[in-house]
């Protein structure tokens, strides 16, 4: 587990100077089905995208709240197409370079689906870029949009992985 001291100065300054207001109790949606029948999607904030997609903005202060869709089919056809564009300097990419599962466990998810531990792997997975000093766009636009995409794909469970 990391601490605030491990963060790079720019991000840390924002977290400390502009602490998020307490949001109170979150909404809760119990899992509607047994895990063996559940459709599972991954949502990461690692700034991943296919090499043909537009990269995330490289200026931290522009606070790029957009997301990219990573189709399961596209990934498995050519995993090498998945790249990272993330503004955080503290994002230690050594793990991800060797093994994508460290941040985006799509291969691992497929294995457990094949083994029958979950029902299916969702057709579309999502990546945001997590270094966001401004979250207005995220809260109002892009996160709800992401929710609609997963809902359209009948996703039962989403696992979120920050970096």
């Amino acid at each position: 587990m990391a601490t605030l001291n491990d963060m790079e100065p720019a991000s840390r300054r924002f977290i400390e100077r502009y602490p998020f207001p307490d949001l109170g109790k979150p909404p809760i949606a119990p899992l509607k089905t047994q895990p063996e029948k559940a459709r599972v999607a991954l949502v990461t904030t690692a700034g991943l995208h296919l090499d043909t997609d537009r990269p995330f903005s490289s200026s931290f202060w522009l606070s790029d709240c957009s997301f990219r869709v990573i189709r399961e089919a596209d990934y498995f056809v050519d995993p090498g197409r998945l790249v990272v564009s993330h503004t955080s300097k503290e994002f230690d990419r050594s793990g991800i370079d060797r093994d994508i599962n460290v941040v985006f466990p799509l291969p691992r998810l497929k294995e457990i689906a094949d083994a029958g531990l979950v029902g299916s792997v969702a057709p579309r997975h999502l990546s945001f870029m997590g270094s966001l000093p401004r979250t207005g766009d995220l809260r109002k636009r892009t996160a709800p949009e992401a929710a609609r995409i997963l809902k359209d794909d009948d996703v039962d469970l989403a696992i979120l992985t920050p970096v």
Partner: protein
């Protein structure tokens, strides 16, 4: 700041009825956002699922997420992943 972002997204997904489990690498931040279900990870930045090529460990993380998704009763339920 990823932890803040992930938590906010989780809340939005849960809002439309998708069950979520959010991994956390920075509990001070995650707890502020208070996502529906949290799995606190003992790893450092860049490694939410632990070490590369640790197939057994990564699989266990996913399994724990499934368990948390099934067993959590209260919004904000937080477990600690034991590596």
């Amino acid at each position: 700041m990823c932890n803040q972002t992930a938590g906010l997204i989780a809340r939005a997904l849960e809002e439309v009825g998708i069950t979520t489990v959010t991994l956390s690498l920075l509990k001070e931040v995650t707890s502020k956002i208070n996502p529906p279900r949290v799995l606190e990870m003992p790893f450092g930045f860049g490694h939410p699922l632990g070490n590369p090529d640790d197939r057994e460990g990564q699989t266990r993380v996913l399994q724990t997420c499934l368990d948390l998704a099934c067993q959590a009763r209260e919004p904000g339920t937080t477990w600690k992943f034991d590596p």
